[in-house]
């Protein structure tokens, strides 16, 4: 589904990603872990099409298409979804209103009929239950005055509504208490299928107790320096990142 080949990206001339290689197949969950500043969120942003990052080398093939050639909106329409680490507050635009615009533009791109108000509402009700989010919250301005947990639940709710092929969760666990973590993870797990894939970007192993990964990759200094199964995440939880840093830094100096 997704091939990342030798991906390099920089921001304002500073290289952040220095050659990422990753293959994600349908039905898989990949966790990207790593110390602060290793490039985890940059990878998520580059995949979603954030303009501040300049891709200097490499390519990303998503379902046979050159992802990096697409605008952010076309990536979303092709089925890439980024759950933001810091969801934006937009005063004056309600979640309901914005999501209906989004969903219908995505449907139009996929050659589907737009949903009328009634069908949209019933779809919304169904997906709201998934993340236990209140309709009142959705008729308010997007994320304005929402708690951290409400914002993250709103992200997963939007994900459920847009029904993506590849979901990228960028530090979705940050700022969540244990109950919100459970709700958000349940939502993500229910949306998983054999035809979709998930990339979970996280600093801590905690989230991976709920969303169990098939593969764990450790990102350090803009490269994937170690890959393994979920046991690798447990090892990191226990030993921290220093041993990996030492391993990498010592080979680098040789």
């Amino acid at each position: 589904m997704l091939y990342i080949k030798n991906l390099h990206a920089s921001i304002e001339g500073t290289p952040i990603l220095r050659g990422i290689n990753l293959e994600v197949k349908a039905g898989e969950v990949h966790a990207i872990m790593g110390p602060n500043g290793s490039g985890k969120s940059t990878l998520a942003s580059v995949l979603a099409g954030r303009e501040e990052y300049e891709v200097t080398e490499g390519e990303v093939i998503f379902q046979g298409k050159e992802l990096l050639d697409l605008s952010p909106e076309d990536r979303a329409r092709e089925g890439v979804f980024l759950a933001f680490q810091y969801p934006i507050e937009i005063p004056g635009v309600s979640t309901t209103n914005f999501l209906r615009t989004a969903l219908n533009q995505v449907r139009e791109y996929r050659g589907q009929e737009p949903l009328d108000a009634v069908k949209f509402l019933s779809l919304m009700k169904e997906k709201m239950a998934l993340v236990e989010i209140d309709q009142k919250l959705l008729s308010r301005s997007l994320n304005e005055g929402f708690s951290g947990g409400e914002k993250k639940r709103n992200e997963i709710f939007q994900m459920a509504m847009l029904n993506p092929v590849l979901s990228i969760l960028d530090e979705t666990d940050s700022g969540l208490d244990i109950d919100a973590l459970r709700i958000v993870s349940n939502g993500v797990n229910k949306l998983k299928s054999d035809t979709t894939a998930t990339i979970v970007v996280t600093h801590y192993q905690r989230l991976l107790d709920y969303i169990v990964p098939d593969f764990v990759h450790v990102l350090y200094k803009g490269r994937i320096v170690k890959s393994g199964t979920k046991e690798l995440a447990l090892e990191l939880e226990e030993k921290g990142y220093d041993w990996i840093k030492e391993e990498v830094d010592s080979t680098a100096t040789v």
């Binding site: 979603a48 099409g49 954030r50 303009e51 605008s71 952010p72 909106e73 990536r75 979303a76 329409r77 979804f81 980024l82 933001f84 969801p87 934006i88 937009i90 005063p91 004056g92 635009v93 914005f98 999501l99 615009t101 989004a102 969903l103 533009q105 995505v106 791109y109 301005s141 939007q158 847009l162």
Partner: protein
């Protein structure tokens, strides 16, 4: 000095008017001579060089004659879903045959009304354009709402403007709302074609005690229009005045809105939105005078400026020494969509009382790129996303308009523009 300040030209305009209101117009003329056109360095007009503009834009400094307006033109200009009184004007002259009225509202030509104290609220010596209007207006309208009369449906002042040679239109309106009365006015100015003209309007509003007056103004004229509008309101005890000023186009527009709070527990709300593109230049000067204790004023003006447009906002709040327990709030927020757009914004608070709550703030920014990316990342194309964000920004002002037909009309006009190149 510009040629327009020369007495002969103003005198020409003065003498072209009929002999009605002779002494009043004489006083206006003298006041105009005393003030002259605002010079380039004039503090009140320093960002809006209107004298210079008049000099370059006008070919004929004579009064514009009324043009014929058909019932169909009226019909197509009235907002869809509008139900209420329609008063039709052509170049400032009232057209009774195309207008209607309602119970409790008395409509008369100023020339047919005895003893209207014109100039007692909008004082000629306060502004050169007020004095110019007083010197040159030919007639106007006197609107009065009886005491205790509540007119629920709005009153639309439909002002058609057209002049072939850049002539001058000098509308003059007097509104009197009796004690315990309530009324909503919509002042809507429409150009019939793209030819330039100069509108110099004066509206005086006199509110009784416990009156509730709403005055919406929608400026949607051709981009060749030069306009100065002076709206001055006196309100009394326990009364409320709400204004919204929406400007969507024009070459150079200057709106002076003055609100005198003369009775305690009075409330003044002043809202404005300017949505400019091309080379439009729009200047809103507001002035609230808290002359008594326990009054409240709220002000929110917002602007979206594209291309090489220019906006000016100057909000004066005057709190006199006696006006203790005043609450005065003012906010002006702007989004600049291009590097060439300019906004000059200035709060101007003069507070002489010591037990008051006053706040003011202004912001100038660009469209939030983070928010734009967020919407795009959900599959919304850039132009729609931009439109959603700008509309949300403007919505805070539009939400203040309670009259559905007017709000829907403006929303439509704005969305048409935001969804395109803007």
């Amino acid at each position: 000095m510009s040629t327009l300040t020369q007495q002969e030209l103003v005198l020409g305009l003065f003498e072209a008017a009929p002999a009605t209101f002779l002494s009043l117009r004489q006083l206006g003329k003298e006041s105009f001579y005393a003030q002259g056109m605002p010079a380039l360095k004039s503090e009140e007009y320093k960002f809006t060089p209107i004298a210079k503009k008049l000099e370059s834009g006008l070919t004929d400094f004579s009064p514009a004659k009324p043009v014929k307006i058909s019932a169909d033109q009226v019909k197509s200009a009235v907002f869809a879903g509008f139900e209420g009184v329609v008063l039709v004007f052509s170049n400032g002259q009232y057209l009774p045959e195309l207008s209607n009225s309602s119970e409790g509202l008395t409509v008369n030509l100023l020339s047919k009304t005895e003893n209207t104290p014109l100039g007692s609220i909008a004082k000629a010596d306060k502004d050169p354009f007020t004095s110019l209007n007083q010197a040159t207006f030919t007639d106007g309208l006197h609107l009065s709402i009886d005491n205790k009369n509540v007119i629920e449906s709005p009153i639309l002042l439909l002002q058609f403007h057209q002049a072939q040679g850049g002539q001058v239109i000098s509308p003059r309106i007097w509104i009197e709302a009796g004690d315990f009365s309530k009324a909503t006015f919509i002042d809507y100015q429409v150009s019939l074609d793209d030819a330039p003209y100069f509108v110099n309007k004066v509206v005086e509003i006199k509110g009784g005690v416990h009156a509730d007056i709403t005055y919406h103004s929608l400026q949607e004229e051709s981009n060749q229009v030069i306009e100065v509008s002076n709206v001055v309101t006196d309100i009394q005890q326990d009364s409320q005045f709400t204004s919204t000023q929406i400007t969507l186009s024009g070459d150079m527009v200057r709106n002076n809105l003055t609100l005198n709070l003369l009775g305690s527990n009075s409330v003044g709300n002043m809202y404005g939105l300017y949505l400019l593109h091309g080379k439009s230049h729009v200047d809103n000067h507001t002035n609230v005078d808290h002359t008594i204790p326990h009054a409240k004023s709220n002000e929110l003006y917002k602007g979206i400026l594209a291309d090489q447009s220019r906006g000016v906002f100057n909000g004066k709040i005057f709190v006199r020494q006696i006006a203790q327990k005043t609450n005065a709030f003012q906010q002006n927020n702007n989004i600049l969509l291009s590097d060439d757009a300019i906004i000059n914004t200035k709060p101007q608070l003069e507070i002489w009382a010591d037990d008051v709550k006053c706040s003011h703030g202004c912001t100038v920014g660009q469209l939030d790129e983070e928010a734009l990316f967020y919407l795009q990342a959900r599959g919304i194309d850039k132009i729609t996303a931009r439109g959603l964000l700008l509309y949300a920004f403007a919505g805070e002002v539009l939400d203040k308009i309670e009259e559905d037909s007017l709000r829907n009309y403006i929303v439509n006009q704005i969305q048409k523009r935001l969804g395109s190149n803007f």
